[in-house]
């Protein structure tokens, strides 16, 4: 047997090398959970894991952003074992126990999307590159959500979308790394149309004012299709710039258009402004075509109802969630949120809180932060105890399927937080739709080294 310099035999070298290869190639997958951990963006290696929350702290949707920030703060507190635990106590999956995520303490950084896609992408990029976030969440605009989830797909960072309601988010613009808990415009149409038909009849002429970006377009298309299926006629559809402020020039033509319903496909301050100005113009007290004139806001939130005040009375819309829902999970969250911030949570706060918990749970179930495994843990995940009944994170389009709330502005609110009332809960099977309806491709699972 040939001897190498230093007394090593070839057999010894081969044995050592073979053992080394086995150790390097196999042992991590046996002994170390998260064996893929070396090759993905912002792999948390210390005692902490950083999440990035990107919200509209300024701009037309700033109220939602402020409430999202509160919800994220509360979610992180609960994940780290603080407070009363909120929905961790009611969530059907019991993996998250208040010990951070995979034993790492959760920290977070925040960014301002300024309700704009460019600012949102810049902020998200900064959080990925500078702050090392492993997951991004938040936002209150579909334009922002689509822009950020596109970036997240490139960088291999999971995006748990905040409030985004466009059909495109989980339709033609869906991404493997993007997940939406919030419902979509199509589901709003499905939930709202039967109520509109019942309350206002089938002989109606509708005029649409619509925010000129992806959410507005799909919202208009969905509610238009749903109301036309009832027998309504669409008189006119008019696009308005986001953040227009003064809508008087758009409202004036409604008066003599022959319409007897105004549908405001607006959100945030835009909806508050367009609704209050419509009421100022006397639309709600008006008669047209022998019927009372009606205003409809297909997507509405408590925050907008508070902003619009009495103008909201009697007006129908839809919501993802209602803080007054009687189920145990909703009450647990409302109690935690109310005790900490002195006000009930909005639907934007709810969806962001739930998304953060769902991500943490998926990591725990996957046993790793490695994004492709976390994505697989979220895909097809069925859960309950988050305030929307039995819920499915559909694998085909990353859309959560759950109940939808049809709401109406209260005539006699008991407080400023009590301006919306759930008039019908549309069950999941009714609000369901085909995953291929809005097209798109999810794209690859591949993790990226950012």
């Amino acid at each position: 047997m040939s001897k190498l310099k230093g007394g090593l035999s070839r057999r010894k070298v081969l044995k050592t090398a073979g053992a080394g290869l086995v150790t390097a190639g196999v042992a991590p997958s046996i002994f170390v959970r998260g064996a893929w951990a070396q090759e993905f963006c912002n792999n948390p290696t210390g005692d902490t894991v950083t999440l990035g929350f990107n919200m509209p702290l300024t701009g037309a949707y700033a109220d939602e952003g402020a409430d999202e920030q509160r919800a994220f703060e509360l979610a992180v507190e609960h994940l780290n074992g603080g407070g009363d635990g909120g929905m961790l106590n009611t969530f059907s999956s019991k993996t998250a126990t208040g010990n951070g995520i995979l034993g790492k303490k959760v920290t977070y950084v925040t960014g301002d999307t300024a309700t704009g896609s460019d600012a949102a992408r810049d902020s998200a990029r900064r959080m990925i590159e500078r702050d090392g976030v492993i997951m991004l969440s938040g936002g209150s605009s579909s334009g922002v959500a689509i822009a950020v989830q596109g970036l997240c797909q490139e960088r291999g960072v999971i995006f748990m979308a905040g409030l985004t309601h466009s059909n495109d988010t989980t339709g033609k613009d869906k991404k493997r790394y993007g997940f939406r808990h919030f419902f979509n415009a199509y589901q709003s149409g499905t939930a709202l149309a039967p109520i509109l038909g019942e309350q206002y009849g089938t002989q109606r002429r509708a005029y649409h004012l619509t925010s000129d970006y992806t959410w507005g377009w799909t919202q208009q298309e969905s509610i238009k299709n749903a109301t036309e299926a009832l027998g309504w006629e669409t008189v006119e559809t008019v696009l308005t710039p986001v953040g227009a402020g003064d809508f008087s020039q758009y409202i004036t033509p409604v008066l003599n258009s022959g319409a007897d319903v105004l549908i405001l496909n607006h959100y945030g301050f835009d909806m508050v402004n367009s609704l209050t100005q419509s009421v100022q113009f006397g639309l709600r007290d008006r008669q047209a075509n022998g019927q009372d004139f009606q205003i409809v806001t297909p997507l509405v939130s408590d925050l907008m109802a508070q902003g619009a005040g009495d103008a909201m009375k009697g007006i129908y819309g839809t919501s993802n969630w209602d803080w007054q829902s009687p189920d145990e999970a909703s009450q647990a969250f409302t109690k935690s949120f109310g005790a900490k911030f002195g006000q009930p949570p909005s639907q934007a706060a709810h969806t962001c809180y739930v998304q953060t918990l769902l991500y943490a749970d998926a990591v725990e179930r996957a046993g790793t932060f490695y994004p492709p495994e976390v994505i697989k843990a979220l895909e097809g995940f069925e859960f309950d105890g988050m305030g929307n009944g039995q819920t499915l994170y559909r694998a085909e389009d990353h859309q959560c399927l759950k109940r939808v709330h049809a709401v109406q502005g209260r005539e006699n609110p008991q407080s400023n937080f009590d301006r919306l009332e759930t008039v019908a809960v549309v069950e999941r099977d009714v609000a369901d739709f085909d995953a291929s309806l809005f097209g798109g491709e999810l794209g690859p699972y591949d993790a990226a080294a950012c």
Binding site: S248, T276, K335
Partner: protein, 342 residues
């Protein structure tokens, strides 16, 4: 016909705001020769006078209920504004009418701000090129808006219309049209009337008072007025204060129509300059005429029938008109010979 009339009213309403702001802007230019890019910030500061006044009126005494709980289990806080406690029904009226009452706060505050701005900063730039004046006043505008942002945050702060002025007037029936065909919100009519009265007041002040006569003389020939032993600088400082008041009042009364935020001034600044340029630099009647003209044209451009022919024309019509006016009439509609031509 009704639709056209309704858009005409809309245009007058917008034009009222443009004219009020542009009037102050052109007054400063005509008297002091300063291109004041901080004028939009004065409009914004006026709006925040209304916000501040309402906040003062709605300061609340908070007591915690011993028996009632919130839905989330905390003791219920009962809040009663001090104004209601101290003044009873009159306190409620004060809060309800906080926007028009805040004019009383806005006039002295805006006068002080205007005079301080002119004496503290702008007077040092009288003899400097217009480019430097623009830079320094634009910088001042940014400082002012950031100060407001730090105190009031970035979000718009809605201000309510007084309860008796909520709703719409049947303007069409006043003019013999069919009932309910042309309705217009009461507060917008109030704003239009307010702007007409204020503009009329400014013209009357300049036309029928000795002070106004000296100012007009100073605008025409500053040196000769100075040679007559009249301290024209002091009068021009007061005119700067008056311009600040005009912008401030326009801002106060606009708050129920558009919830103010720190950026409000910038939103109006560019349009106001276009109004001044179209009307003619330094021409007071030109600023008023151009304000109403551009408001009306912008309103008509947003009609569906117009946009069906030229999409998005409502977003560019004002600038298009400015280009046409400058090409065909470089001094503006009512511009004076020699102004900005040397």
């Amino acid at each position: 016909m009704e639709a056209i009339f309704a858009q005409f009213l809309n245009g007058l309403d917008k034009g009222g705001a443009y004219a009020l702001i542009a009037l102050g802007l052109t007054l400063v230019f005509g008297t002091l020769g300063v291109v004041n890019f901080a004028h939009g910030a004065l409009f914004m500061l006026g709006a925040f006078c209304a916000v501040t006044f309402r906040r003062l009126l709605t300061l609340e005494q908070v007591t915690v209920s011993e028996t009632e709980l919130t839905p989330w289990g905390s003791p219920l806080e009962i809040r009663v504004p001090y104004a209601e406690q101290w003044f009873g029904d009159f306190g409620q009226v004060l809060i309800d009418y906080s926007v028009p009452f805040s004019i009383l706060l806005a006039i002295p505050v805006m006068l002080i701000i205007g005079v301080a701005m002119e004496r503290g900063l702008i007077k040092h730039f009288y003899k400097r090129p217009h480019a430097e004046q623009i830079l320094v006043t634009f910088g001042l505008a940014i400082v002012l808006q950031e100060v407001v942002r730090s105190f009031f945050g970035a979000n718009p702060i809605p201000q309510p219309i007084p309860s008796s002025l909520v709703g719409a007037a049947d303007v069409g029936s006043w003019l013999g049209m069919q009932a309910n065909q042309v309705v217009y919100p009461w507060w917008r009519l109030v704003y239009l009337l307010f702007s007409v009265v204020v503009i009329g007041g400014v013209f009357a002040f300049l036309q029928f008072t000795t002070f106004g006569m000296v100012v007009r003389a100073g605008m025409a020939d500053r040196e000769t007025v100075g040679l007559l032993g009249i301290n024209i600088d002091r009068r021009f400082t007061i005119m700067f204060g008056l311009a600040a008041i005009l912008a401030g009042l326009a801002g106060v009364m606009y708050t129920p129509l558009l919830p103010p935020n720190f950026h409000l001034g910038m939103d109006f600044l560019v349009l106001s300059f276009v109004v001044v340029v179209v009307g003619g630099m330094g021409s007071l009647p030109g600023a008023v005429a151009a304000g109403f003209l551009l408001g009306i044209v912008q309103s008509f451009a947003s009609m569906t029938e117009v946009k069906a022919i030229i999409p998005a024309i409502d977003q560019i019509i004002v600038y298009l008109i400015a280009v046409i006016v400058l090409l065909t009439r470089p001094r503006g509609l009512l511009g004076r010979r020699g102004v900005m031509e040397n």
